[in-house]
């Protein structure tokens, strides 16, 4: 397995969910795909929206941190194995 899997999963899921919601918006409001994306991404910025974005940022940071930690433990265990050799 490669590195930074959690961050990869994070971005993949965000993209896929955005597409799903855009598709729903398209069929419900008869938007074009582009309009639907704008509707999702640039809807009114209120204080609440910042909280949501703050949460997402928190998720991103944590996913990167988790990845780094996984990477480090893997490296350590690899080193240990090598030492045993």
């Amino acid at each position: 397995m490669g590195f930074y899997m959690v961050t990869l999963a994070f971005f993949l899921l965000i993209t896929l969910l955005t597409i799903l919601i855009a598709l729903f918006d398209m069929s419900l409001f008869e938007f074009s795909f582009f309009e639907a994306m704008i509707n999702i991404l640039f809807s009114e910025i209120a204080i609440g929206r910042y909280i949501a974005l703050f949460g997402a940022a928190l998720g991103l940071i944590s996913s990167v941190m988790i990845d780094v930690r996984i990477h480090r433990t893997k490296k350590d265990s690899n080193d240990n194995e090598r030492k045993k050799e």
Partner: protein, 387 residues
């Protein structure tokens, strides 16, 4: 990577099932299109639910050590399974977002009107992320601890409603006033998907059951009890509010609780109802979340705990983005989700999977017979695992 083995007892499965089925169904109310026969529709839906969980159960227990995604792999190979798994993950997480949104709307409109809805969903998702980080065992135990209170509060609500004299049994009549068709239609087009069809999320839980012998009975009991509770609460709403108010209210159970007034002292028992709702939503959201995490675990071969916190934040974000406002949210829930999401993911894909498994096993069996030896299904499964 070595995955930790987790254990869930039968009583925990029972409470999980009950809370899961009550979940958002009790927030927004189900079976509304059957008018004052909603409770009949729920009973019928419960029967279908029992059939669904029995089918699910038989299918899952053919592979006692595998969850849904691994069964997929067994049938069609890892590469295609990854695509399928991604679709399922998105489905599960999307439903989880919707469940959280339901709850967030309830809180933001009825309980804490001055707090932004984002705050609710953020804190709620932080909680879910923490619990999923601790594992499904912890979720199961938490649900086991709180469920007695759920029963107690529902009972209390009923008693208070009767005691405050706001119950009029005439509201239920006429029973089947418009014939049986609306009831059947509601049961088969709405209730079969929501909430009963969503049991599909449990297909990742059965592998961690400790006692598989009685799991079918317990599952049926769970669905039965949940149906009973849903039916009871639906009846309570109808007899105390009246059909019109129920269908007009966004959160009928909460409106029902607000009717209670005993001797100017016990007036607002919203807190009880919010507790019931929060517990259900919490279990339901977490179960879908867990199902999604299990999918991620399958794809990335990493313990699902690693994904818990980041994905919980995704749910928090998308529970806001999922729809513009509550009307839009409900519209999507009625018009789009059942047909484009529930139907394929609850019916079509599992059915295809079922056919594939039968085909595969039939093939394996005929091969075994060619060799002149009779093998049980499980043996064949084991062999194919090795290759």
């Amino acid at each position: 990577m070595k995955m930790e083995k987790e254990n869930i007892s039968l009583s925990q499965l029972l409470t999980l099932l009950i809370n899961f089925l009550l979940g958002s169904a009790i927030v927004v109310g189900v079976g509304g299109s059957a008018k004052n026969d909603a409770w009949l529709a729920i009973l019928l839906g419960g029967l279908i639910g029992i059939v669904i969980i029995t089918l699910n159960h038989f299918f899952i227990l053919r592979f006692p050590d595998k969850n849904m995604f691994q069964v997929f792999e067994f049938c069609i190979g890892r590469k295609i399974t990854i695509v399928f798994t991604f679709m399922y993950i998105v489905y599960f997480l999307y439903i989880s977002c919707r469940v959280i949104r339901d709850f967030g709307e309830l809180m933001a409109t009825a309980i804490l009107p001055n707090t932004p809805i984002e705050m609710m969903s953020l804190t709620f998702c932080l909680l879910m992320g923490y619990i999923m980080y601790l594992g499904i065992e912890v979720l199961a135990r938490t649900s086991e601890i709180f469920t007695p209170y759920l029963f107690g509060f529902l009972l209390l609500l009923a008693i208070f409603l009767f005691a405050s004299g706001s119950v009029e049994f005439e509201q239920v009549q006429p029973i089947l006033g418009e014939g049986i068709m609306p009831v059947i239609k509601t049961a088969f087009t709405e209730l079969v998907f929501f909430p009963f069809g969503e049991i599909i999320a449990f297909s990742v839980v059965y592998t961690s059951l400790t006692n598989k012998k009685y799991s079918l009975r317990v599952s049926i009991l769970g669905v039965g009890l949940a149906t009973f509770l849903l039916c009871g609460s639906s009846l309570l709403m109808i007899v105390s509010l009246g059909v019109d108010s129920v269908s007009r209210s966004n959160f009928p159970l909460l409106s029902t609780a607000r009717v209670v007034s005993i001797g100017n002292f016990i007036e607002r028992i919203d807190a009880f109802v919010v507790f019931i709702i929060m517990l259900g939503v919490f279990i339901k959201g977490s179960m879908f979340f867990y199902a999604g995490l299990k999918g991620l675990e399958y794809i990335f071969n990493l313990p699902y705990r690693y994904f818990a916190f980041p994905v919980s934040m995704i749910i928090s974000l998308f529970s806001i983005l999922v729809s513009v406002d509550f009307a839009d949210h409900i519209q999507e829930g009625i018009k789009l989700v059942p047909y484009y999401l529930h139907f394929p993911f609850q019916v079509v894909f599992p059915f295809i999977l079922f056919l594939l498994v039968m085909w595969k096993q039939w093939k394996g069996k005929s091969k075994g017979e060619e060799h002149g030896s009779k093998k049980t299904n499980s043996q064949i499964i084991k062999e194919t695992n090795k290759t």
